[in-house]
Amino acid sequence: MSASIDRDHGLGLLRQMVLIRRFEEKAAELYTVGKIRGFLHLYIGEEAVAVGTMQALTPEDNVVATYREHGQALARGMEAGSVMAEMYGKAGGCSRGRGGSMHLFDVSRRFYGGHAIVGGGLPVAVGLALADAMRGRPAVTACFFGDGAVAEGAFAESLNLAALWRLPVLFLCENNLYAMGTALERHQAQTDVVRKAEAAGVPGEAVDGMDVLAVEAAARRAAEAVRGGQGPRLLEARTYRFRAHSMYDPDLYRAGDEIEAWKTRDPVVLFTAVLRGQGVLGETDLAAMETSVAAEVDAAVAEAESGPWEPVEDLLKDVYTAPVDR
């Protein structure tokens, strides 16, 4: 972090993190008034992970995300309006209102969802990478998952298969120390995710997930190895969610001072300070950025509010490619 940072790049990273933060704060508000329903899992506190890792990906790469994926989607460049409209259930949503918060998709950005079965995205990512390997597309498939997913059999199976076939998968573990209310040390006998990955044949590295530049650098190293045909890599980003698991969660299982301690490492605040320290972020830049982000979020809400509902007659659409006659 001693090297000085490119101003545009730095401001770009910060803006993405701020956008995710404000977008989700607004989403939480809209949830309480019933505009958004179902499950809503906020990424607040973890922004540096999605924003940092996405820097290492090209438009040709694939992304497989979790149900806590607003940050992943926005960092991938999906339009805030189409994401917000999706959470409203509107026809203009990125999944036409069929998916909701947990199932954001954007095939034009190779964003393959929005998976709500913990660990369920990993095998799919392995398959996307297999297709690329067999077709000779030099792409990386980035697959996000939480620490909780590491306990699922799909984790060990998927890492093994990816390593066995040397497939271009970048496994991205968002280790926020909890799977719902179960702390890492209560769900893992051995809590070092990188060691698990290596035992499956996948080299790994852990990184401070609150430091966007560190995440970016580690992701670039890992993605480069993957892209260079060295087989899969795992990156474990150590992070923390500042909010409850979902809007239903009374958050009884974390000590208040643990949460407060982590909040002192807020990735947005930390990176703001870095940019300030490097003289990259001027006095008015932040205010201007907040204004532009606020406008973007407001526009997203406006788009969601004004967009039409899909007609109910289309209920059976997109179950199969061919229309179902009944």
Partner: protein, 327 residues
């Protein structure tokens, strides 16, 4: 009799079971510190301690299998699989072990296991979180399947499950947890294998269970206002089905509408219809009809989800159409 929610009723059964039998313990994802994804087990960790209220890792296949093993080993496990959606990951242990061990061992083993899980849609949770697959479980010989549709049954059937020597699967409908009802929390366990006529009527039988029961009762209200009296049969136990109660109702009303939140093709409703075909054909004034969920991965948007599920209005409409058609 006390007024309590379906959630509280289930919790009261859990508490009673844990207090009354040292072999009983509860395990599953987030049953302890979190308090249960649906707050059913809220408070039980504090009351019974971490040995008997066990948070598990996200490993559905393994902790259901461990429940089987613990039952073989002399305990009385209650395994909570958070929802039926995740139970797909543990179906191998259910179908290939829980259901078979007694038989394959020539009767040497018993698996006195209770597995609870939330089922059903209606909360805008979309395609991966809205399944109603209890009909699949009802297909499997070697296990018993119950699906309480009232607060009282949420307690009584869970207690009954804990008396069975063989595996019992309890499907609690997620949308019913906040529903209040009269519960006799001093009563003993309910009776497995017995359906209940929840409302008497003469024009048709509406046969249903679980989350569709309140909807069927609401539909019966709508119909009553038009002078149509619907008998509402609550299956309660999905395996073994109480065919006698179903057929007796049909013999009285001569018409049956089966309402089931599962997808129509291959639904439990199909089984009920087939049984009426086989045992009540000559009693029928017209064909048994089914009202099930639309055959679609559940969409998120509210108007779409509402349209995909059976509703009081669509149940009433189906009943009306049957009466019109069959005369």
């Amino acid at each position: 009799m006390k007024k309590m929610t379906y959630r509280e009723a289930a919790r009261s059964a859990l508490r009673q079971a844990l207090a009354g039998d040292p072999r009983v313990f509860l395990m599953g994802e987030d049953v302890g510190r979190y308090g249960g994804a649906f707050a059913v087990s809220h408070g039980l960790l504090a009351e019974f301690g971490p040995e008997r209220v066990r948070d598990t890792p996200l490993s559905e296949n393994t902790f259901v299998g461990a429940g089987i093993g613990a039952a073989l080993g002399g305990l009385r496990p209650i395994v909570e699989v958070m929802t039926v959606n995740f139970s797909l990951l543990s179906l191998d242990q259910v179908v290939n072990n829980a259901a078979t061990l007694r038989h394959m061992s020539g009767g040497q083993l018993s698996v006195p296991l209770v597995v609870r899980m939330a089922t059903g849609a209606g909360r805008q949770l979309a395609a991966q979180h809205s399944h109603s697959l209890e009909g699949w479980y009802a297909h499997v010989p070697g296990i018993t399947v119950v699906a309480p549709g009232t607060a009282d049954d949420a307690r009584a059937l869970l207690l009954a499950a804990l008396r069975e020597p063989d595996p019992v699967f309890v499907f609690e409908h997620a949308a019913l947890y906040p529903m209040e009802g009269e519960v006799d929390d001093t009563a003993g366990p309910g009776e497995i294998g017995r359906a209940a006529v929840r409302r008497v009527g003469t024009d048709l039988s509406v046969i249903t269970y679980g989350g569709s029961l309140p909807k069927a009762l609401a539909a019966a209200d709508l119909l009553a206002a038009e002078g149509i009296t619907a008998e509402v049969v609550d299956l309660r136990t999905l395996r073994p089905l109480d065919t006698a109660t179903i057929l007796a109702s049909v013999a009285r009303t001569h018409r049956a509408l089966v309402v089931d939140e599962g997808w129509r093709t291959g639904s439990l409703a199909a089984e009920v219809s087939a049984r009426i075909m086989e045992g009540g054909f000559y009693d029928l004034d017209g064909p048994v009809q089914r009202l099930c969920s639309a055959e679609v991965p559940m969409p998120y948007a509210r108007h779409m989800e509402d349209a995909a599920l059976p509703q009081p209005a669509t149940i009433a409409a189906a009943a009306r159409a049957m009466l019109r058609r069959d005369g």
